[in-house]
């Protein structure tokens, strides 16, 4: 048994402990929240640009940094190449940096994240574009308005696109030859496509997949929805944007342009969406294409280059990838996505978004202009790891070594089909993408499961779109 009475000395000691703890708690409570920026040396006054790491290797970083230094010796630049497996992973890491108080000034953002960044984090570039209109005239003349429109949100421009990739069809020439098939015509149809896959299947072994695709927002089911004249979410355009179109584009090119895309009501149960899914399910059932979960871009180059895949949708980025994998320029080729109800195709673009939290906005704008310059992009995209946003960069010389023979397809997807549209990517894009991937897997299990899976997709999409990001 212990003494319940405290001695005066003990009481004084506990009192001192309590006072100390209260003082510490008070100090902590009154302190401004500590962030990563408080770490000494973290903020060295540089303009910080966050890029998607795998796309920006050391060589690209050096090119950007040294080139920018020559033009703006007074601005210190730091490229922060964030390692991420895909765009959603990249955005997650950028948001973590923002939460940690170490937000970059500029972030490389693809179509998937344009509206999220514009709505929550981005600064419209309108005033700068108007101010430096003369300097930018040459840029806009060289860049297709569809790409620019995909970087607009509610009438304002948030990025200058520097690259894009349309979902075109790559074909393995060795497989075509084996099947005794000709290279398809530019206006080939969905039925021509199916026939080609059947010919390929007949002439190849059991370890062969005629059509390989990856279940994702770009290049998965969505291009088939575009071809069937429908989309995952109802599509419309925001008003505004005339300030840009009237200043930089001739009447023919600015017709029908608005202030950026709006993706609103989910329409997964639309008859044409169901028709597109039913078509893909029939291809799966017939053994003409990979199942959605089996489709994985990571080993695609390997199976395509060794003739185990005949056709796959990919953009200009694949020319460099296949070349690096050892494929000769004439061993593969590219054609437009096949026609169904329309031959409207899908693309995704990317550029630099300026964050509201940046304290170096003028310097950041100078970097945005620098990054969109032709000479910068010429140095940056030497290996054809993407399709440059500037039309003038797509030349026979550029594709002589890597191929493909029909390299004109890359930019002509925009020029010859000006209604070609961007990835449907509202601010809630992460959840929309997850819902799409999840239910696509279930829908394509069999033709009977298409309709129930699309009903569930519709319900989940409605829930996702109602949520505020």
């Amino acid at each position: 048994m212990t003494d319940a009475h405290l001695t005066r000395r003990t009481l004084l000691r506990y009192g001192a402990y309590g006072a100390g703890a209260a003082a510490l708690a008070g100090t902590a409570a009154s302190w401004d929240r500590l962030t990563g920026a408080d770490i000494p040396g973290r903020d060295d006054g540089s303009l910080v640009v966050a890029t998607l790491g795998p796309a920006y290797g050391p060589e690209a970083i050096r090119t950007l940094t040294e080139g920018f230094k020559q033009v703006h010796p007074d601005i210190k630049l730091r490229i922060n190449a964030v390692q991420a497996v895909d765009w959603s992973d990249f955005f997650a890491k950028i948001l973590t940096q923002i939460a940690a108080g170490t937000a970059p000034d500029l972030v490389y953002v693809a179509t998937e994240g344009v509206q999220l960044f514009a709505q929550r984090l981005g600064v419209p570039l309108d005033d700068w574009v108007k101010r430096d209109a003369e300097e930018l005239r040459e840029y806009f003349a060289d860049v297709h308005p569809s790409l620019v429109e995909s970087m607009m949100y509610e009438g304002s421009l948030y990025q200058l696109p520097v690259e894009f990739n349309a979902a075109d069809m790559y074909l393995n020439n060795q497989v075509l030859k084996r099947a005794g098939a000709d290279f398809p015509a530019a206006d080939w149809t969905r039925d021509d496509f199916t026939g080609l896959l059947r010919d390929m299947k007949k002439s190849s072994g059991s370890q062969f997949t005629p059509y390989f695709w990856t279940n994702r927002l770009w290049g998965g089911v969505v291009p088939w929805l575009f071809a069937n004249d429908t989309n995952l979410l109802a599509e419309s355009k925001a008003p505004g944007g005339a300030w840009l179109w009237d200043s930089f584009y001739p009447a023919a090119q600015r017709q029908g342009r608005g202030g950026g895309f709006r993706w609103t009501t989910p329409q997964a149960t639309d008859a044409r969406v169901e028709e597109a899914y039913d078509y893909l399910a029939s291809l799966v059932q017939e053994g003409l294409c990979s199942r959605p979960e089996g489709g994985n871009g990571q080993n695609l180059i390997g199976v395509f280059s060794t003739g185990r895949v005949g056709v796959t949708p990919a953009g200009g980025f694949w020319a460099g990838g296949l070349h690096l994998a050892g494929m000769k320029a004439d061993s593969f080729d590219v054609q437009y996505f096949p026609r169904w109800r329309t031959q409207r195709m899908q693309y995704g673009a990317a550029g630099y978004a300026l964050l509201r939290t940046s304290k170096r906005q003028e310097e950041a704008w100078e970097f945005i202009k620098y990054a969109a310059r032709r000479d910068t992009l010429m140095r940056l995209f030497e290996t054809n790891q993407t399709t440059p946003a500037r039309r003038s960069m797509l030349t026979a010389e550029r594709y002589r070594e890597t191929g493909p023979n029909h390299w004109q397809v890359f930019y002509d997807t925009l020029d010859k089909f000006p209604d070609t549209g961007p990835i449907p990517a509202p601010p809630q894009v992460a959840e929309v993408e997850q819902v799409l991937l999840k239910h696509t897997g279930t829908a394509l299990a069999s033709r009977r499961s298409v309709a129930p899976a699309l009903r569930r997709m519709q319900s989940d999409l409605e829930k996702a779109m109602e949520r505020d990001v």
């Binding site: 973590t96 929550r120 059991s206 997949t209 959605p292 979960e293 999840k438 299990a445």
Partner: protein
């Protein structure tokens, strides 16, 4: 000494007072201080990296927060959302199914192999087996899963290619709702059973040989000895292995994330995957924290239940 020295009548003593508790000696105080100093880094580590995040998660679960805007108080809204979200509920079901099969299989394989390795075998061969079984555990789960994804690919995987050589049609290892969970469990168990295996090898070595010898003299067979001697004496090790196994299994993430990304549909989506997706992909940190808190409660409950049940089944020498 004589009695005469004792006074006949004792002087009146005051009422007996309890002796004051002896204070710690200087030596004791030194020992305590030293012990506190040694424990301090661990205590600080637990507080900073375990207690604070747990409390932080509980607090965050009461707010709506998307990283970008300031947090807004939500009360129990995040918990209501969790209980009405079919994906979350399915993920809890998947995780429990995963836990049951993964842990049972893992313990069974580890026990059988530990008994086999503990039998008559050259020492060098025993070392080879021990290293081989433990090796997958030191590899990164994500890297293993990437490799396994290639091996189990329905169209181009080595596993189906090998099966094809003996006339078996391609198995949809990762693309069928029925097969995907089984494949994820298989990959997980292959990587994890080495830990339980090592525990069992240690536990078997601690069982005195005399007990087995005495049983042999009494005429007990191999199976009887395992059932009546080995298993009861190994029960404390089994308890540890199952507690650790269940806690790990309830937190599984890398294997299903890399192998199937939770699909097909939600067939292999686990609770930790939902937490990751809600927080870092959909920017719903409050809801993710609510799911995290529920998982924490589930783990605590299952572990407590195990210890409770262990009173009946665990025998200490």
């Amino acid at each position: 000494m004589t009695n005469t020295q004792i006074p006949a009548v004792r002087p009146k003593q005051p009422a007996a007072q309890p002796a004051p508790a002896p204070g710690p000696s200087t030596r004791d105080r030194g020992t305590r201080l030293l012990a506190t100093l040694f424990l301090a880094p661990t205590i600080v580590g637990i507080v900073v990296f375990t207690v604070v995040p747990i409390v932080g998660s509980v607090v965050l679960s009461l707010f709506h927060w998307n990283v970008i805007d300031d947090p807004r108080f939500a009360g129990a809204a995040n918990y209501r959302e969790v209980f009405t979200d079919s994906t979350v509920l399915v993920s809890f079901g998947n995780t429990l199914v995963f836990m049951v099969f993964a842990v049972a299989l893992q313990l069974l394989i580890a026990l059988v192999l530990a008994l086999a390795v503990n039998g008559r075998m050259p020492v060098w061969l025993r070392s080879v087996f021990r290293s081989a079984f433990f090796f997958p555990l030191v590899l990164s789960a994500a890297s293993i899963s990437v490799v396994m994804k290639y091996l189990f690919n329905q169209d181009f995987g080595v596993v189906n290619w090998l099966l094809g050589l003996v006339g078996v049609a391609p198995v949809p290892w990762l693309t069928s709702e029925n097969a995907a969970m089984a494949t994820v469990i298989l990959v997980y168990v292959w990587q994890q059973f080495g830990f339980s295996f090592l525990l069992f090898v240690g536990g078997l070595n601690n069982i005195p040989k005399e007990v087995h010898e005495a049983a042999s003299l009494d005429g007990a067979t191999g199976l009887r000895k395992h059932l009546s001697i080995t298993l009861p004496l190994l029960s404390p090790t089994l308890l540890v292995a199952s507690v650790v196994g269940i806690i790990n299994a309830l937190q599984v993430f890398e294997q299903p994330y890399v192998l199937t990304n939770g699909g097909p549909g939600d067939a292999t989506r686990t609770v930790v995957m939902v937490i990751y997706e809600s927080a870092f992909e959909q920017l719903r940190f409050g809801e993710a924290s609510a799911v995290g808190v529920l998982l924490f409660v589930l783990i605590m409950a299952v572990t407590a239940l195990q210890f409770r049940l262990s009173r009946r089944f665990v025998h200490y020498q």
